[in-house]
């Protein structure tokens, strides 16, 4: 797949502290790319390098086939985690100013702002000052300003913080729509459910090193452990339990069910298939529940970070 952004062997140190160590990442065009990692891992430094706020010590970043250069800022929209607006400035004036800094003409910026303000139903805020707005309202303005110049690459650092669930959902839909319209999104967050929901690629940075990256589906495949969650209805529970423990690695499980059944997670050997397990289980009783355990992004995150 074509890559919009390629980072090659990017390293950055602040004094003696190595913030990024030889990071290489490829972001496919049109994807939503989750940049994950614990606090202080180096995500923000990496994002700042893409935005040319900081320069890498070594390594190169390529945007759409060209090495990163100052003109590229108009192709990037960045919503930083530490964000804010001039408090004493009026909403419309401020949005126009920020849009013009991104290279839009005043007329064009006005036209697009009108469209967005109507779309998000915030048209009557134009002459209000930021300090009169609530935090969530200011966040909406900030989102509009980030996407207004229709950048190829959108970078969102914790985009949902400060939004109520309704507005968070609204913003999520807008992000998905922007992707449909051709934008590529880099998405940094600690909310794993939104990673699960939105990202198709992820990279995991831990202590300045990249420890994992790829398609979310591929990663999940790699992390699955041939474990199945089963429910088994049987007349002699004790005997079956003993037999299961003898034959497989068995972990306790609990899921909602209307039957009074045995509930276990069962791990089978690499060589065995799901069918083998099913046919064995059917000899022991009535199979009421059978699901493959797929690791969640959360599980993968915790497991990889702890193992490193």
């Amino acid at each position: 797949m074509e890559k919009l952004l390629v980072a090659q062997n990017v390293s950055k140190s602040f004094g003696n502290y190595k913030a990024l160590n030889d990071i290489s990442i490829e972001v496919p065009k049109g994807s939503i790319f989750g940049l994950l990692g614990p606090n202080g891992a180096g995500k923000t430094t990496f994002i700042r390098i893409i935005n040319q706020i900081t320069m890498p010590d070594t390594g190169e970043v390529i945007l759409d086939g060209e090495p990163l250069q100052p003109e590229h800022i108009q192709h990037i929209g960045y919503l930083p985690e530490e964000r804010g607006l001039y408090k004493s400035m009026k909403v419309g004036e401020q949005a126009l100013y920020l849009a013009q800094l991104k290279g839009l003409s005043k007329q064009e910026a006005k036209k697009r702002l009108k469209y967005w303000f109507e779309r998000l139903e915030i048209g009557d805020w134009w002459n209000k000052k930021i300090q009169e707005l609530s935090k969530g309202m200011a966040q909406k303005i900030q989102f509009v300003v980030t996407v207004l110049h229709q950048p190829k690459l959108l970078i969102f650092d914790e985009p949902f913080s400060g939004f109520d669930p309704i507005n968070a959902n609204l913003i999520k839909d807008e992000i998905l729509k922007l992707r449909e319209d051709g934008a590529t999104v880099i998405f940094s967050t600690h909310r794993m459910e939104s990673v699960e929901e939105m990202c198709d690629h992820i990279a995991l940075i831990h202590e300045s090193n990249k420890i994992l990256d790829g398609k979310l589906i591929d990663i999940k495949r790699a992390y699955k452990s041939n474990t199945y969650e089963v429910g088994l209805h049987t007349s002699d529970q004790e005997k079956v339990t003993a037999a299961l423990h003898e034959k497989f690695e068995v972990f306790p499980a609990s899921f909602k069910s209307i039957n009074n059944e045995l509930q276990y997670k069962i791990k089978v050997s690499e060589a065995a298939s799901a069918n083998d397990l099913v046919s064995y289980l059917t000899t022991q009783g009535e199979l009421t529940h059978f699901v493959e355990v797929i690791p969640s992004a959360n599980d993968i995150f915790i497991e990889t970070v702890q193992n490193n």
Binding site: G84, L85, Y86, L101
Partner: protein, 435 residues
């Protein structure tokens, strides 16, 4: 529109539309003119008050010597004792009582005269009285020695030296004072401007940090551009305010003068009293002033004022911006302010003490090349005549240093604006330069 002009425009409009900025622009001249008017009014009130001094002259030598003047009446007491005189003076609420005892000879008077009063008397009154007594005593002394006082007066020759430079320009003693006034005003103006508007830049950098907009902005523009835009935008706002002040003060003073008939310039000052003492010379002095102003290198002064003003202001402004970037709030700025204020204050001190004493001495010369003091010191030296090459050299050094400080400030700025939470030490800031 390019980024720099966008930023300058925003900074300028943001400052100029700010409520407190507008209030200060109109209030400051009002307060200043108000205070001057009040002082002028009060001192007029004070002058109108009649003071009466009783005199008990036992020697009988000074009967006709004391002439009433404006605001000061003399009343001769006769045929009473000192203690009675004191009571009389006190009861009739006199300003004081001058007691001249009878002495054997005139020399004896020098220590014997006493002035009794409620509080310590004003120096001006005492000067008047002593002058009158001295005049009479000296005349008596001359008479005693058989010398004709009138003859001495007629024989006296007054010398008024004509001053001329080697190049043939006429000057006068007044000129030095005038030069100093011009240079001092220019230097002081710059000093004030730097402090007021340097602080304003610093605050606006801090504002961007605390409102957390900074990262949004610098993902669009280079920090250096933002820094320069801030400096220029704020400077323009500053110049606007300064001009508004000058115009408003001018207008207000004219209005006040014509309405109340009070001349704010009439606040008595020592120099003025000196000038007034010989009112016949006033016209001469006025002519001298005009001559001297004509003699000042005005064109030179104006051109250099512009250069040094811009250079000096930008130099300090970039440092103020760097401080703003390094800290989180205004309260944290103190430790970094001292190194900025020290050279500024030093410059003003050197200007007002050394340059007055010897405008072309080594100290004055050295400080007029050091970029952190040169704007003030050189501006004060120029009226006294500084070779053009020295001026140019000083300006070149100043602007070269400005480029250096902007580089330095931009480095600190680039790192500092993204640092939150902790107050950096000098050591850390030096480390930032290497990032």
């Amino acid at each position: 529109m390019n980024h720099l002009s966008l930023i300058i425009k925003r900074e300028y409009l943001n400052k100029v539309r700010n409520k407190s900025f507008i209030i200060m622009t109109f209030l400051s001249p009002l307060i200043m003119v108000g205070i001057f008017t009040l002082v002028a009014y009060l001192s007029q009130l004070n002058n109108d008050k009649e003071r009466t001094v009783s005199i008990l002259d036992e020697s009988g030598l000074f009967i006709d010597q004391f002439e009433n003047s404006q605001g000061l009446q003399y009343k001769m007491l006769t045929d009473i004792s000192l203690s009675e005189a004191k009571t009389v003076a006190q009861e009739s609420e006199n300003y004081g009582l001058l007691y001249i005892p009878k002495t054997e000879d005139i020399e004896g008077l020098s220590k014997a005269i006493t002035f009794y009063s409620e509080d310590s008397p004003s120096l001006i009154v005492m000067d008047d009285i002593e002058e009158a007594i001295e005049e009479k005593a000296n005349a008596l002394k001359l008479l005693e020695a058989g010398i004709d006082a009138q003859a001495i007066k007629e024989l006296r020759i007054e010398i008024d030296t004509n001053l001329e430079t080697f190049k043939g320009e006429e000057t006068s003693k007044l000129g030095s004072g005038l030069k100093l006034a011009f240079g001092g005003a220019a230097g002081y103006l710059l000093f004030m401007f730097i402090i007021i508007y340097g602080n304003m830049i610093m605050r606006s950098v801090i504002e961007e940090k605390t409102s957390r907009i900074i990262e949004v902005i610098i993902s669009s523009v280079k920090p250096v551009k933002l820094l320069l835009g801030k400096i220029f935008g704020t400077s323009l706002a500053g110049i606007t305010q300064f001009l508004a002040w000058v115009i408003l003060i001018g207008v207000l003073s004219t209005v006040v003068t014509s309405i109340f008939g009070i001349d704010p310039a009439a606040v008595p000052s020592p120099q003025q009293e000196m000038l007034e003492s010989g009112s016949g010379e006033m016209e001469n002095i006025f002519q001298d002033i005009m001559l001297e102003i004509g003699n000042l290198p005005l064109a030179n002064l104006v051109i250099m004022f512009i250069f040094f003003f811009i250079g000096g202001y930008l130099l300090y402004a970039s440092l103020y911006a760097a401080i703003g970037a390094a800290v989180d709030s205004e309260t944290d700025t103190q430790q970094f302010m001292l190194p900025i204020l020290m050279p500024l204050i030093l410059a003003v001190y050197v200007g007002f003490f050394t340059v007055i004493d010897n405008p072309h001495g080594t100290v004055s010369q050295v400080f007029s090349y050091i970029p952190f003091t040169s704007p003030v010191v050189m501006l004060m030296r120029i009226p006294f005549g500084v070779p053009v090459w020295q001026q140019i050299l000083s300006v070149v050094i100043l602007f070269a240093t400005f480029i250096g400080t902007v580089w330095f400030a931009a480095k600190i700025y680039r790192v500092g604006i993204l640092m939150y939470g902790k107050k950096p030490s000098y050591k850390e800031i030096i480390k930032w330069l290497k990032y």
